[in-house]
Amino acid sequence: MSDHKTMTLTLIVWRQKGPSDPGKFETYAAKNITEHHSFLEMLDCVNEDMILEGKEPIVFDHDCREGICGMCSQVVNGLPHGGQDRTTVCQLHMRKFKDGDTIYIEPWRARAFPIIKDLVVDRAALDTIIQAGGYTSCHTGGVPDANSILIPKPIAEEATDAAECIGCGACVAGCPNGAAMLFTGAKVSQLAILPQGKAEAAARVTAMTTAMTECGFGNCTNHYECQASCPKGINVKFIARMNREFLKAQFA
């Protein structure tokens, strides 16, 4: 534990006043940063200094700060969430950087995610995809006992692998086409794997993929940057599964 060692870094940050502002990069110094600061705590410190100097602090989305709510969304040195394996930007720590480093910070960039201000983007399109069919149509009450339909462990585990998606949108930001295939594939697969979701599988995959296109997400050309960008390690096999479900639905 070395508490005394501090770093100074140069931040080159995307600043944009609003959706219609062209935006530009600005340069800031982050001083007195220790290896224990998380990336967002580092930005907090920079913002505190700016507030005291009467400047406008950098606006960014965040909430849980433990990698589960999916709110934080920054491209750090060209990589969504900073590129550390299975790590959201709120979990990234400054020990991954060295004194004197220059760090580029940008918002998610994708056609379907308009920039609201600075690093904050509008991800409502992801909700629209879920609203199109990312559910089972069960009513509150009137459902069978939880053990009446057996789900062997390997199946439950595979569904959970898909269900771990936090809806952050890094897969879209990382994709050269701005596609939402990994996000959509994960939800389609989770519900197609489980017996409770099978009845509506065909209608669901059709509705969700249609919504995806209508929201302005791009097509998949198998770059697999999505999986590399995903902080939860969601596997591209779920895209393949969605494609199979889609084909099945066409012939159904």
Binding site: C45, Y135, T160
Partner: protein
């Protein structure tokens, strides 16, 4: 005033069913004429909005995040209780009720807890039907684990992601209703006022966090499901945006705030690395099953590597003080003992705020692989944050505020003392008494949302004419003016200190004087200090930008301003409650062995406070508690 919870009478086993039968029903064709506002779309609000929409009501739902899927319910790791008794180990609705009442140190209502236990089983069925992937065995049956000292295995879980999976289940049900048009979802909105017309809740005033616009929304009933307030301590496991604002604005409009001093401190969090940090990450307390907690006996050993400290120079203080429970002593005891050790100057790590949680013995006994199998994800999480390998050297842990049992007072129908205002989930005070059992908050949120409010709200709505008050009513205009005035004031101070500095200062007072070990002296002191911080805040805070844009400084300023008022109420409640119970520990009231000493003769009541103005003392109202099914007994974990 003596408050009446309006609990059903007669045999407890029939109480909820009978109450449902007695409630008047809203004619199905009339339901769409009623507007219901749901503030908050976490487990409680999300489940409620979806269920009410499906019943045919018109629902307007609000959250401050960009999507309802991000509410802080998402962060719960451990699990959710239910009295299914699948393992056949002796569980029952009555036993879950008994454990909850006892765990809450006899400070909750029996009828509410019975109902919670009864519907717990429906929750699991509901979630499975939604596609929530709970843990299963190879044959396909649901798996259970035991949690938080319970003697039966009744906790359902999904990896370390139970809250996430349950919330995504509620979010999917909500999404289905949004698509169906029964629920209108307003994201990135923060409720800044409750609108009360002639004593009845009629709507809310919200700020659009993107444009800054102040909007009025009218309805026939308003529900608050806005979560917990432990960010009043600055340091906490809550998300950064969690606040008391919605509840506090309602309290200032006349809603009684019940038991604000009942807060829970979680013993196994990763310690703070520096002042700049407010958000602490929790690690599942299951770690205490195999880890041994200790601090150095001698101050000169504190700077040393743990491996260099001889066995004889380590104080395994929980094992020493509580030989039969040892490292598994209840949350409040474990937390308090850690703070005592650190206050005595024996803490380890940055700022001396940490104690060791050592797995060396378990690894020797069971192998590193076994420990990895049990807790691998927690060790990984610990390493991500601290850069230390928990297998090779002891972890460092420290307690942090985690959950609040207190909240707005509600009757059995979840309605506050203001007609038309309902409160759900962590935001109300109802079922956990003075302390909450592990895996019971998720259960309560979903119980309130899926299975209680859809019934009880109808009983109120049949008594009101739909659409009686519109958003152009003078009270709405006045509320907008008040909100605008407060925004203007915050922006005009242009002082020298940031909002965060004030939050940190308040947090220090709350943690040191109103935290785990409270005394008459410390509380009286806090009640003097907090108004001073508040006064300085309103004269010296620096909030830049304007009100007509996305302005996170302004959002934080509003939340901290409310904490600065609410913190004082919390301290007053703690001062008035001359006993120790559950999460509330008064050093004057303890048994010789340090156990909490309850005072049933004088304090077996819910303390509900009425706001009278910042310069006036709040007024206390009492709801006496009766125990007819479960007999009052003293807790012992020795």
């Amino acid at each position: 005033m003596i408050l009446d919870g309006k609990c059903p009478t007669g045999p407890i086993e029939k109480s909820w069913d009978k109450h449902c039968f007695d409630l008047k029903l809203v004619n199905p064709s009339n339901k769409r004429k009623y507007n219901i506002i749901m503030v908050g779309t976490g487990l409680a609000g999300g489940a409620a909005a979806a269920s009410l929409g499906e019943l045919g009501y018109n629902v307007q739902a609000f959250c401050y995040q960009d999507s309802p899927r991000r509410a802080h319910s998402i962060a719960a790791q451990g699990g959710i209780n239910a009295a299914k008794n699948y393992p056949s180990d002796g569980d029952s609705i009555l036993r879950l009720m008994y454990d909850t009442i006892k765990g809450g140190d006899f400070r909750a209502r029996e009828a509410d807890v019975w109902r919670l236990s009864q519907v717990s089983n429906n929750i699991i069925d509901q979630c499975v039907a939604q596609g929530v992937p709970f843990a299963r065995d190879y044959a396909g049956y649901l798996d259970n684990r035991s949690f938080g000292g319970a003697q039966v295995s009744r906790t359902f879980y999904s990896r370390g992601l139970t809250g996430q999976q349950l919330l995504l289940g509620a979010y999917s049900a909500l999404s289905r209703q949004i698509k169906a048009g029964t629920v209108q979802m307003y994201t990135r909105r923060e409720m800044l006022d409750l609108v009360v017309v002639d004593g009845v809740a009629r709507g809310i005033t919200v700020r659009n966090l993107i444009t800054g616009e102040i909007e009025s929304h009218a309805a026939d009933a308003v529900c608050l499901a806005t979560g917990g307030y432990v960010n009043v301590f600055y340091l906490s496991t809550n998300a950064k945006g969690c606040s008391v604002t919605a509840n506090w604005k309602a309290a200032k409009k006349g809603a009684f705030f019940a038991n604000p001093c009942y807060t829970q401190i979680h013993p196994t969090c990763i310690p703070q690395a520096g002042e700049y940090q407010s958000k602490l990450t929790l690690m599942s307390e299951s770690l205490r099953n195999d880890g041994r907690i200790w601090v150095p006996k001698k101050k000169e050993d504190i700077g040393k590597l743990p491996a260099q400290i001889a066995e004889a120079d380590r104080d395994y203080y929980l094992e020493r003080k509580y030989p039969s429970y040892g490292n598994l002593a209840p949350r409040d005891i474990a937390s308090r003992s850690a703070k005592e050790a650190c206050d005595a100057g024996l803490g380890v790590g940055p700022g001396g705020r940490g104690v060791y949680l050592d797995f060396a013995d378990s690894i020797k006994r069971l192998s590193e692989d076994t420990i990895r199998e049990r807790y691998g994800n927690l060790f990984e999480m610990y390493e991500k944050i601290t850069d230390e390998n928990g297998y090779k050297r002891p972890m460092r842990i420290y307690p942090a505020p985690h959950y609040c049992m207190g909240g707005l007072w509600v009757d059995y129908n979840l309605m506050s003392n203001i007609p038309g205002l309902f409160v759900l989930g962590e935001a109300n005070f109802s079922v956990h008494g003075a302390n909450r059992l592990g895996a019971s908050a998720l259960m309560q949120g979903l119980s309130d949302g899926y299975f209680v409010i859809p019934y009880t709200i109808g009983g109120y709505l049949v008594t009101v004419k739909p659409g009686a008050v519109k958003a152009d009513h003078a009270e709405f205009k006045k509320s907008v003016e008040d909100v605008n005035a407060s925004t203007k004031k915050l922006l005009s101070i242009k002082g020298k200190r940031t909002v965060t500095e004030f939050h940190r200062e308040l947090g220090k007072v709350m943690w040191n004087d109103v935290g785990m070990a409270r005394s008459k002296e410390s509380l009286t002191d806090a009640i003097k200090k907090i108004p001073k911080i508040r006064e300085e805040f309103w004269n010296n805070v620096k909030v830049g930008g304007t009100g007509a844009e996305l302005n996170q400084q302004l959002e934080n300023a509003g939340r901290v301003a409310d904490f600065l008022e609410f913190g004082e109420l919390l301290a007053r409640d703690a001062l008035h409650r001359e006993e120790s119970c559950g999460g509330h520990f008064r050093v004057e009231h303890q048994l010789p062995d340090g156990e909490a000493m309850r005072n049933d003769a004088d304090f077996s009541y819910v303390g509900a406070w009425e706001f009278k103005g910042n310069d006036k003392e709040p007024e206390l109202h009492k709801e006496p508690l009766k125990f007819e099914t479960i007999h009052l007994a003293v807790r012992s974990y020795k």
